[in-house]
């Protein structure tokens, strides 16, 4: 997993576990910060930035599918603790599907999409999974919500991609030199 030996003289496995823990913590912090943001008046209810998806997206690319899924599950359990069972189902379904989709897109040989395309694909699949769960839990009438979820999913996905462009070098530095 590690390309460079750490100067702290710890094993690559230890370093990997610590780094995954760091990413999970980062995802939780971003979720918590997002929960504190007031709902924007222009956005429809339920539309969120999905800041913590930045981390699952990075993890899908940098540490592999299973650690990334673990982060998504930890994020889901955290929503369960702080916001209740429905929120946990929503977070788990969206997180697991979007992480898998982003991982798949990252592992197509030709690497067709840039970070923005990946962010959009992740956000849209996240919304799709959540909408499916919402339709099961409440009423199929939530299909009327699809157009807004697509539009705000695209916006949030573009933002996710742009932010990851900026913080990727910092995370890589932590990964290799931490």
């Amino acid at each position: 997993m590690m390309n460079h030996p750490s100067h702290l003289n710890i094993s690559p496995q230890t370093h990997g576990i610590a780094f995954n823990g760091l990413l999970a913590a980062l995802a939780l912090v971003l979720s918590a910060v997002e929960m504190m943001l007031p709902p924007l008046p222009l956005l429809p209810p339920g539309a969120k930035l999905g800041l913590s998806n930045i981390v699952t997206m990075y993890a899908a690319g940098a540490v592999g599918l299973w650690p990334a899924l673990c982060i998504a599950v930890i994020k889901g359990l955290f929503s369960g603790i702080t916001r209740g069972f429905t929120a946990m189902l929503m977070s788990l379904s969206g997180g697991i599907l979007s992480t898998s989709v982003m991982w798949l897109l990252l592992h197509i040989k030709s690497r067709p999409f840039g970070l923005i395309g990946l962010g959009v694909a992740g956000a849209l699949s996240h919304n799709a999974a959540q909408l499916f769960i919402a339709a099961l839990l409440t009423t199929p009438a939530v299909v009327y919500y699809i157009p807004w979820l697509i539009i705000f999913g695209i916006l949030a996905g573009i933002l996710t991609g742009l932010v990851l462009r900026i913080i990727m070098p910092l995370l890589d530095q932590l990964k290799y030199n931490g």
Partner: protein, 121 residues
């Protein structure tokens, strides 16, 4: 910054969203208009069954007139001072309401089908 493929991914989804919005918006409104005076129900109109515009004279001391149209209902006239009811305009969706307080007349649209209970995300 945007790869060409990213754009190709985004545009189809935007088109789908636009098409769905237009489709959902063009569906006839299936609400039922309920007219109440002093809290007691006077009339009940099925807006989706309405095919032409029709004026309903509720009368009373303010000569309230309602305008019933396909998919919409509004206060057309009232002698009241504030004209809040008239300025509310057309009601088209379940949940909307307009009230003429001096005349104690209210109109509201209730849904035929079960509507959204709430959202989560």
């Amino acid at each position: 910054m945007f790869k060409k493929q990213d754009i190709f991914l985004i545009i189809p989804f935007l088109l789908i969203a636009a098409a769905l919005l237009i489709w959902f918006g063009s569906k006839p409104n299936s609400g039922i208009a309920v007219v109440e005076k002093n809290g007691a129900e006077l009339y009940r109109f099925d807006l989706s069954q309405q095919t032409s515009a029709q004026e309903i004279d509720v009368g009373g001391s303010y000569h309230v007139k309602l305008l019933l149209e396909p998919g919409a209902i509004s206060f057309e006239h009232s002698d009241c001072r504030d004209q809040i009811c008239v300025r509310t305009g057309k009601l088209t969706k379940p949940g909307q309401a307009a009230v003429c307080l001096p005349a104690k007349i209210s109109i509201k649209i209730v849904g035929k089908n079960k509507d959204f209970d709430g959202y989560t995300g």
